[in-house]
């Protein structure tokens, strides 16, 4: 029979190999699933994962879609390292988009200057941070499960957004569509490379990766976060305040998610409308785990999951494959990542039934 055995030390080889094994296993399962759906798995997987890498437009799109994923996942990784379970990043993402858009709507059609966009970004980050503070305070002050409260707030955020764009913020010239007016140029995130869709937000995401690297690897706060998550008892003896770290990591991750939200709306989307997010906040959870909660890993994982979004869209157009396949892929990937991660801490050993029984005696 198979038994789990704790490794004496974390296996470095397994730590590097586990995400790769997980991706390979997911691809294999996807191939089986595609065959079941009556498609040629090789062509379908090529459309999903290779075609987007071969033309320039898709490569730009890859960067555009990876930007919010990486930004959100960096924040989430801090939470998860500290053992604080923020799973409502989608809500913080939406609220950040809403609070930032407020200024764009308020200054629409006026001759407001270049200060609008920076102020919008600050408002977005602030909105996301405050929204994340609700579940964090719920946990720290009242002991309410932050998992459930942060998730409930996603539904609330969707409804807030829906209310605003159908009501007070609706574009009067928008033929009754639930959307705000197109943002003014001063309220739009500038394009980075002329003639492409790659925007300044991608640099912000890179900066977040760099900042997280320094925070986790080189500062006392980063050390506290890791200790509180990995060894809560040791953290108590060291006098680290676990509650304050929960608040801190939630605020930081909420701010990053909110920032990603307003960048997305003021950048690639250009106006606020319901359903502008294809679930970035949830996919970012997968990005954080696939990247092994490491900033560089998250950067790579973010690009990879962006690929699944683009590949999924292309497969829908060219092969009529359902878009839900992308979500199936993402869910499956998270399963395999988690399973493979277990191999870093444990080794699986094959023992005969008899020896196992002897051991028990």
């Amino acid at each position: 029979m198979l038994v789990l055995e704790r490794r004496a030390e974390r296996s470095v080889v397994a730590a590097l190999a586990s995400p790769l094994i997980a991706v390979a296993l997911t691809m294999t399962t996807m191939a089986l699933l595609l065959a079941l759906l009556g498609r040629n798995p090789v062509t379908a997987l090529a459309v999903y994962f290779l075609d987007p890498l071969t033309d320039g437009y898709s490569l730009q799109e890859l960067v555009v879609k990876a930007t919010p994923l990486v930004l959100i996942a960096i924040g989430l990784s801090l939470c998860y390292l500290a053992n604080a379970w923020n799973i409502g990043a989608e809500g913080q993402f939406l609220i950040g988009a809403v609070t930032g858009s407020w200024l764009a709507v308020a200054t629409h059609g006026t001759d407001a200057g270049a200060w609008v966009l920076p102020a919008m970004l600050v408002l977005g980050a602030l909105g996301g941070a405050l929204y994340a503070l609700i579940p964090a305070i719920g946990r720290v002050r009242f002991g309410a499960s932050e998992i459930l409260t942060s998730l409930m707030l996603v539904y609330v955020a969707e409804l807030v957004l829906d209310y605003l764009v159908r009501g007070p913020w609706r574009d009067p010239k928008g033929y009754n569509f639930p959307t705000t007016a197109e943002f003014d140029p001063v309220a739009t995130v500038p394009i980075l490379i002329e003639g492409s869709r790659v925007h300044l937000g991608s640099l912000v995401a890179l900066a977040a990766v760099g900042a997280a690297l320094v925070l986790i690897g080189r500062t006392l706060k980063g050390f506290e976060i890791r200790v509180v998550g990995a060894a809560p008892r040791a953290a108590r003896f060291a006098g680290f305040d676990a509650d304050r770290l929960v608040l801190l990591t939630f605020v930081v991750s909420g701010a990053l998610a909110g920032l990603a939200g307003i960048i997305e709306v003021a950048g690639p989307v250009g106006h606020l409308q319901p359903g502008f997010s294809p679930g970035y906040g949830f996919t970012a959870i997968i990005v954080a785990f696939l990247g092994r909660l490491n900033p560089i890993g998250i950067l790579v994982a973010g690009l990879f999951l962006a690929l699944t979004f683009i590949g999924g869209e292309q497969a829908q157009i060219s092969m009529k494959l359902p878009l839900d396949l992308t979500r199936v892929f993402q869910g499956m990937l998270l399963f395999y990542v988690l399973a493979c991660d277990s191999l870093i801490l444990y080794r699986i050993r094959l023992t005969s039934n008899r020896r196992a029984a002897d051991g028990a005696r």
Binding site: M152, Y155, P322, Q330
Partner: protein, 306 residues
């Protein structure tokens, strides 16, 4: 039919899926496992239940398909969390994402189709009694089953040896293991039971509540079921009270919207979610002074030492 009677009927119908899913999760958590994938198992139950009923024309087979789908997903969860000692929170999330995706794939061919809604009980004379007749003796099988389920779980947990062992495993897996109880096997069975309940709850939605399937039709009910378990302090009796309370809140907001109260409909729709948050905070605060009622080993992986 009077308005009060209509409201009671609607509340019963809205509460039943919450009650079934939460009852299953209660048993899972009592065994010390936190399965956050209820939403995913429920939506799969809804999709597979509808598919089964549509193809065969039988509500019973549909319900069985829903149960099977929930159990299949929960078996994957068990393989990871029990077999490989993987973090239960993250695995539950993966289960939800996967379930939503898979249900979309399976349900895509059935969107827009309709089936005959699950039949309601009809007892001569009794069902025709004024007021209580329709409420007590003319429900569909799911409603009666949900009540039987809660009573059964209550009897099992507190009055049988098996229930005692299950609670012991949830409260202190190391001691239960030392006493010779097969911790992982008991947890595996509990997780499967939870999956079956979640699948059945989903099937109720697409077979009886609204006899059609649309993507994402569970709309967070799985998460509310999880919150209900906390609300109930892991006790079946309080669970039933909580489920009916939440059913009442969701029906109330529908009626208020219908009556054209001058409140944005989005705020009314948000009410069940806001109520969940408020209740979680209040309950948790009250418990902070009285000591936690959660099973002590909840969410902690168990790897037997050899």
């Amino acid at each position: 039919m009077g308005l009060a009677e209509a409201i009671v009927l609607a509340v019963l119908a809205a509460s039943t899926p919450l009650l079934i899913a939460a009852a299953g999760e209660l048993v899972v958590e009592r065994a010390g496992v936190l399965n956050l994938g209820v939403e995913g198992m429920m939506i799969m139950g809804a999709a597979c239940g509808f598919a089964g009923a549509y193809i065969t024309g039988s509500t019973l087979i549909g319900a069985a398909c829903g149960i099977a789908a929930g159990m299949a997903l929960s078996a994957v969860f068990a393989a990871l969390t029990l077999g490989l000692a993987v973090n239960q929170v993250a695995t539950g999330l993966a289960l939800t994402i996967l379930g939503i995706g898979l249900s979309g794939l399976i349900g895509a061919g059935f969107v827009g189709e309709r089936i005959v809604s699950a039949p309601h009980l009809h007892v001569p004379v009794l069902s025709d009694l004024p007021v209580i007749g329709r409420i007590l003796f003319a429900q569909d099988a799911f409603v009666y089953l949900s009540i039987a389920l809660v009573i059964g779980i209550w009897r099992f947990l507190y009055f049988t040896r098996g229930g005692l062992v299950l609670r012991a495993v949830g409260d202190n897996h190391a001691s239960a293991h030392a006493l010779g109880y097969p911790v992982l096997r008991i947890r595996f069975l509990a997780v499967l039971f939870g999956g079956a309940c979640a699948g059945l709850a989903g099937a109720y939605l697409s077979l009886a509540y609204t006899p059609f399937f649309i993507a994402g039709m569970t709309a967070g009910r799985g998460w509310i079921a999880l919150a209900l378990v906390v609300f109930a302090s892991w006790h079946p009796g309080r669970l039933a009270a909580g489920a009916y309370l939440f059913g009442a809140v969701s029906i109330l907001q529908l009626h208020a919207q219908g009556a054209g109260v001058g409140i944005p409909p989005q705020l009314m729709t948000a009410l069940p979610y806001l109520a969940t948050i408020l209740v979680l905070v209040l309950i948790s605060r009250a418990r902070a002074t009285a000591g936690s009622a959660a099973p002590a080993s909840l969410g902690i992986p168990f790897v037997p030492d050899r």
